[in-house]
């Protein structure tokens, strides 16, 4: 039996625009007094109308471009209708069949290409707070988040392990941060993850064949387990755990029930990060019919090529491009990967790009290993850290000779073939010179003298 997981991901990213998606209220809602950032539009009051935020749309297009998507010339908003107390208008403005961006991809370090189906724009909902007020259990609605711009990135089911899924998510996270449209802070809920998982199970078929015929490939039969979508995960590790749990659960379930994927048996599940399990929320029969239809309050969009090219021009070097750029500058892959995720280290590295006194890989190593104080004088710090020690051979020789003569036992060991003890002399000499000796030179002298 061969098992291949099929994993797709929906990622929601909250944009950090100045104002909300369809009104002028501030989009930054984190930690604000409830219902202080609202207006008729995001409260869904009678008569209020949405006016799209162009900056948010541009950010969405940038994400699409960074993910190698096609920007669709024709696009529109749709209404997605469902009832929930935090949904002010009784519908969410989203995009159904004409998203802003389609058909992109992300390339994993292994070279595997993960397809992106679409990148579209929608609005966030309010937030429910279940609290006890005057001794009574009540649910309160905070509309500060209502109407905050969200970009949804939908991948194809191209990932086949939780590790690939995690790498994909990290890449999306880095890209979104790199283009500066969101800090994608998971703890603040600025990036939310929803994996959809099922498993392909292949079994070989045992056929009795006569000795004279030989079949080169054993015939196999493949089946797929029912799809499960896990909702609202807010950490890469939880996503990884949820996916692993699902792969195991679905395989086990299939062995018991033999139920295969069908058009009607997709389920929606939640993730319990304490018990580390997923649990059933809804079956397809209970799934909502969202009754999508074109949002009549917002005219459709025609995205001009000019705008697309302008936005493409504004994109910074993306993490993968940056890594290859750094490697091209003589920096080790391992340092480059750490540094692209650290804005400060990256800018320091760039600032000393053309300084002939600084060797890029050395500085990268120091930055990656947090060996220098980045708040201090970088050049001074660098020189201190990489300072070339005393190279005066005569001076060092006399120090080493003294140590050798006072440690005949160790010398004897060396002569017996225990060459590792050379380190002892280097260490002692270093101590003697208060660390001022140049290690390379010192090493050379020690070996020379021990062998003489």
């Amino acid at each position: 039996m061969k098992i291949t997981p099929l994993i797709g991901l929906e990622v929601h990213v909250e944009l950090e625009t100045k104002s909300k998606m369809f009104c002028g209220c501030p989009a930054n809602h984190f930690g604000k007094e409830p219902n202080t950032q609202t207006c008729p539009v995001c409260l869904g009051l009678p008569g209020a109308l949405p006016v799209p935020n162009e900056k948010a749309i541009e950010s969405c297009l940038k994400i699409g471009l960074a993910l190698n998507c096609r920007v669709n010339i024709l696009s529109k908003f749709d209404r997605k209708q469902y009832f929930y107390p935090d949904l002010a208008k009784g519908y969410q403005i989203s995009q159904y069949d004409q998203p802003f961006c389609s058909d992109g991809f992300v390339i994993l370090d292994s070279g595997k290409r993960i397809g992106i189906e679409r990148v579209h724009m929608e609005e966030d909902t309010g937030k429910l707070q279940h609290v006890v007020l005057d001794g009574k259990k009540v649910s309160l609605v905070d509309y500060n988040r209502s109407g905050v711009p969200l970009v949804e990135i939908v991948s194809r089911p191209d990932m086949s392990s939780s590790i690939e899924a995690k790498e994909y998510l990290k890449k999306i996270h880095e890209i979104v941060k790199a283009i500066g449209v969101s800090s994608a802070d998971m703890e603040k809920g600025q990036m939310r993850l929803e994996p959809t998982i099922n498993v392909k199970i292949e079994n070989s078929i045992n056929i009795n064949v006569s000795d004279s015929t030989k079949i080169s490939d054993t015939p196999t039969i493949s089946v797929y387990t029912p799809l499960a979508e896990v909702k609202n995960i807010n950490s890469f590790n939880f996503a990884q755990q949820a996916i692993d749990f699902e792969i195991a659960r679905q395989t086990e379930e299939f062995e018991k029930s033999g139920i295969e994927k069908s058009a009607t048996n997709k389920t929606t599940r939640g993730y319990d990060s304490i018990k580390k399990i997923t649990f059933l929320q809804r079956t397809k029969e209970e799934a909502k019919d969202y009754r999508y239809f074109p949002e009549p309050d917002i005219p459709p969009f025609i995205i001009e090529n000019e705008l697309i090219e302008k936005l493409r021009g504004e994109l910074p070097l993306l993490p993968d491009q940056l890594i290859s750029d750094l490697i091209g500058r003589g920096i080790d892959v391992k340092y480059a990967k750490i540094i692209v995720g650290n804005e400060e280290a990256l800018s320091i590295l760039n600032n000393y790009k053309d300084d002939s006194d600084i060797e890029p890989n050395k500085l990268a190593s120091l930055l990656a290993n947090k060996k220098i104080d980045t708040k201090g004088d970088i050049k001074g710090e660098y020189q201190k850290a990489t300072k070339v020690g005393n190279t005066n051979i005569e001076e060092l020789k006399s120090v080493v000779e003294k140590i050798i003569s006072s440690n005949p036992n160790v010398v004897a060991e060396f002569k017996k073939g225990k060459t590792g003890v050379a380190g002892f002399f280097v260490g002692q000499a270093m101590k003697e010179t208060k660390g001022q000796a140049d290690p390379k030179t010192l090493n050379k002298i020690v070996i020379e003298l021990l062998n003489s």
């Binding site: 008729p40 869904g44 009051l45 009678p46 008569g47 209020a48 109308l49 949405p50 006016v51 799209p52 209404r79 209708q81 009832f83 107390p85 002010a88 208008k89 009784g90 519908y91 609605v141 019919d289 009754r291 999508y292 239809f293 009549p296 309050d297 917002i298 005219p299």
Partner: protein, 474 residues
């Protein structure tokens, strides 16, 4: 000598300038008429308690600087689906009973900046769902021409207010016929601007893709003045048109219609239409010819197809727009929605549901495109098309009861133009059985000048604008 409630906007402003009367005089005059007639007619749902204070401030301003604004001191009646700060706004639905808006509709802001005084809020079909004003949760409005008759709707209160002389002018809103049909049934002028010409912000939505505010007035000229004030791009309405607003008052001052090409739509003379109604339309066509216009008989798609298209699109949008009245906010449960509203929500929910969307909504959009194309072709050769507004005169009270398609049947002649987002004037063109009949003059999108100019010239050269004798009817 005309009475104060009979005056046009221009005549009122002249009166102020000449110190013949003050705004306080005029507001008091209307208040006493409202006191006298409103109980019976049920036109106003709420009155502006500050009207006299506002009037006196306007008088002070005029005494100091003279008349400087286009609507300075003009008493307005406003349909109850326009949000007004400080005045309860319900859209005639119990679900919004007692609702005090936090903001003014853009159109309200604009008429107030132009100096208007709002007298009160007028009755309408609940959430504008109807063409009779009978679906109002606060009782029907009666037609000032005959108290046994309906005023039409959904802006029935505004049309009756103008007809009965309970305001100088009024604001209504139209999704398909809701300005033009009550204006026709009450014997006054109604103008529906092109879709997007005036802002929808702050008007309780019925069907977002065709809703449009419009004036209901006695004189076409007054409609032109108000349209000029309320039109133009609104940053709060993404569907409002950025194209510059024409000077409608200048455009309409023409003494004849030489060079104007008009199409008389054959299909709008419905087979089941009374001959006397048909004859009024044919007479109007002759009058327009006499004024110098060429009037040709033209042909459009049978208007019955518009009923299906409009019903599907409108109900779909209604079901979505009313989702916010979920019983959690605004203080009343969904039980307080009226039967007609519930019916519309149910039908719209059905037409948008998976499996039905393609057969209904998508099909309707396709036919809508066909209708738009047909009009585009028509307006290459004609400045306007004409026909009756309504198949007949005002129907008796109760006519809409147990008739789920009442509105659609009564609005059959105005739904095509609404679906296509055209502009159109309804102007009185005669009487049958003592009840007024309206002529629609419909022009292409953003060609309001043409429709208004033809209607104004027709009105100045005919004598169909009359006041009902309220002492006789009441």
């Amino acid at each position: 000598m005309k009475e104060l409630h009979e005056l046009s906007i221009k005549e009122v402003l002249d009166g102020y300038a000449n110190k013949d009367f003050t705004c306080v005089d005029l507001v008091k005059h209307f208040q006493s008429r409202i006191e006298k007639y409103n109980k019976k007619l049920n036109v106003y749902l709420a009155l502006n308690e500050n009207a006299l204070v506002e009037a006196s401030n306007i008088d002070k301003e005029i005494a100091k600087n003279g008349v400087t604004l286009p609507l300075q001191g003009i008493p307005f009646a406003v349909k109850d689906n326009f949000l007004t700060i400080g005045m309860v706004t319900t859209a005639s639905s119990n679900i919004l009973k007692g609702y005090r808006p936090q903001y003014n509709a853009t159109t309200i802001e604009r008429i107030l900046s132009a100096g208007a005084v709002i007298l009160g809020k007028t009755n309408m079909d609940s959430f504008a769902h109807g063409s009779s004003t009978e679906t109002s949760d606060f009782g029907p409005t009666l037609n000032p021409w005959n108290l046994g008759r309906l005023p039409g709707g959904s802006s029935g209160g505004s049309a009756a207010a103008v007809s009965a002389g309970l305001c100088t002018v009024a604001l209504g809103s139209e999704t398909a016929g809701s300005v033009r049909q009550p204006a026709a049934w009450c014997g006054v002028t109604g103008f529906k601007p092109s879709y997007g010409r005036a802002s929808r912000y702050g008007i309780i939505a019925m069907a977002s893709s065709t809703d449009q505010p419009g004036p209901i007035t006695r004189f076409v000229e007054d409609s032109a003045i108000i349209t000029e004030v309320i039109s133009g791009k609104d940053p709060y309405d993404a569907t409002s048109s950025p194209s510059p607003v024409e000077k409608y008052i200048k455009a309409i001052s023409t003494s004849d219609l030489r060079g104007v090409r008009i199409g008389l739509v054959k299909e709008y003379l419905l087979p089941n239409m009374r001959d006397d109604v048909k004859n009024l339309i044919l007479d109007a066509a002759d009058k327009l010819r006499l004024l110098g216009a060429t009037v040709d008989e033209v042909s459009l798609m049978d208007p019955k197809y518009a009923i299906g298209v409009y019903t599907v699109i409108q109900r779909s949008e209604v079901s979505s727009n009313l989702a916010r009245f979920d019983g959690i906010r605004f203080g009343h449960d969904r039980d307080s929605l009226c039967e007609e509203t519930k019916r519309r929500i149910m039908l719209g929910t059905y037409t948008l549901s998976a499996g039905y969307y393609d057969a209904f909504y998508k099909k309707a959009l396709a036919v809508r495109t066909k209708i738009v194309d047909e009009f585009n072709e028509m307006f290459k050769s004609y400045d306007a098309i004409i026909g009756a507004v309504s198949p007949g005169p005002a129907l008796p009270l109760g006519a809409s009861k147990n008739q789920p398609m009442f509105g659609e049947m009564e609005d059959v002649l105005v739904e095509q133009s609404s679906i296509a987002g055209l502009c159109s004037t309804s102007v009185p063109c005669g009487f049958v059985d003592g009840l007024p009949i309206g002529l629609q003059i419909t022009s292409d999108q953003l060609h309001e000048s043409k429709s208004l100019m033809i209607a104004d010239c027709f009105q100045r050269n005919t004598d169909f604008l009359k006041f009902p004798d309220l002492n006789e009817t009441i």
